[in-house]
């Protein structure tokens, strides 16, 4: 079940939007807000996966609401809804997940919600493997990268390291659609853990640096780069 909050100062638009959202996503719980302040207060207690924000609201603008949300521990996906064709935002604010024009709701809402649904689902995906000391289940998003070590694969997370028997090739095949990219003969990288892409290496959020393998470099850089485009 995906939890969505929609915030707009026009009751009519709120009704239309929630109807449209229910028409696009099957399992969805929609909460509506006429006022951004109330939404901010509610987020603390009832976290949402996706928040759709009107930008031009009288009491508090959609941008201000987004900035407040950004400071919280929960990180819902933010989709701006505007009557303009341009969204211009300040660098201090996080790059929003998407933006929908009120004049093009039919065409744009479906795509952005489907993408958001996929993104939310990917946060819940897990990876199972069997080690000498028992079965392990990890959230995919917690895995930074896999490293090959002889006949074994090391699984690296921010806190722990595990080892299990598998080949890099099999692993790459099963995880490439989940945003894992082979950057080196010995490394399969979670795209989400990349902080910076350099010419010959990537730097991860925990400041570990992994090199590109020469024969993987061009392809891997391209994949990582295209992964940055929504």
């Amino acid at each position: 079940m995906i939890r969505i909050a929609i915030c707009d100062d026009e009751k009519r638009i709120l009704d239309d939007m929630s109807k449209a959202v229910r028409g696009i996503l099957e399992e969805v719980d929609v909460a509506v807000y006429l006022d951004g302040q109330k939404l901010i207060r509610d987020i603390e207690n009832s976290p949402f996966d996706i928040i759709m924000l009107d930008i031009d609201m009288p009491e508090i603008s959609g941008f201000s609401v987004a900035e407040s949300i950004q400071k919280m521990a929960v990180k819902p996906l933010i989709i701006f809804v505007t009557s303009h064709d341009e969204l211009v935002y300040d660098s201090l604010m996080l790059h929003p997940f998407g933006f929908v024009r009120k004049s093009h709701v039919d065409a744009e809402l479906k795509k952005v919600l489907k993408d958001a649904e996929e993104e939310v689902a990917s946060r819940e995906k897990h990876f199972f493997f069997h080690t000498a000391s028992g079965d392990v289940k990890l959230k995919l998003e917690d895995i930074l990268y896999f490293e090959s070590e002889g006949n074994y694969i090391k699984v690296i997370t921010a806190e722990e390291e595990y080892r299990f028997r598998e080949t890099m090739q099999t692993l790459e095949m099963s995880l490439s659609s989940d945003g894992f990219v082979r950057i080196h003969k010995g490394f399969l990288l979670n795209q989400g853990s990349v902080k910076m892409i350099k010419t010959d290496a990537v730097i991860l959020y925990n400041d570990v640096q992994l090199p590109f393998g020469r024969s993987y470099q061009e392809d891997a850089r391209k994949k990582l780069m295209r992964g940055m485009i929504r």
Binding site: E86, Y89, F99, K195, M225, M228, I229
Partner: protein
Amino acid sequence: MIGRKAEREKEFENLSEKYDKLYSDYQELKFSLREMKASTDEIEKQSEEIRQLHESMRSLKHDMKNHLMVTLSYLNDGDEEAARVYISQIINKLNAIHSYIETGNSLLNHILNEKLSEARTGGIDVKAEIENLAFERMESMDFSALLSNMLDNAIRASLLERESGKAAEMIVKVYKNKGYDSIVVKNRISESVLEKNPELKTTKGDSNEHGKGVPQIRDIAEKYEGMCDFYEEDGYFISCAFIPI
């Protein structure tokens, strides 16, 4: 005699040192003068754009009053259908009016507003998502050539789509991501460009000039140790450039 020669040589040395200094000062001043001139032109252009915008806002306000009066009279007559049709006409008209993009980066403002208005005039639906980035590391000339080339390519390709009677759409995004200032320009295509011309080469006499400026985009991205890419996905041609911050 010899002492005199040494003296002269010393004098000459001093003078040429002075000359070098003056010459370099002169060059610097010349350069700043050129910069100042360019920025004055820029400011003039911008104030003209803003003046035009004010003008269109004023006439819009006037129009709105008229529109509301017409709608009201339809409603007073009980002709709801006529009111409905009239209102959707106004909405279509309003959709064609666009605001000035203000990012805090005057060069970015200028290029975006000029190119996007050119695109819209040509009947292309344009959606823009712009983070106010400074592109600090880039020289103005390079930044301008990079963004203009990317936009020009998309506009040119979209106008060709329009000519063949199809809907044209462009999406422009400027944002910071993973240590890069990024520019992404997408345009809707009804058939593959890369299939016919994988290297995106400009061919003389070919009206489909999607590749024009592509080498320049590549050169500029390379100059700043960035990356660029051109590919197709979901019915869009996508060009992107990433410049390390």
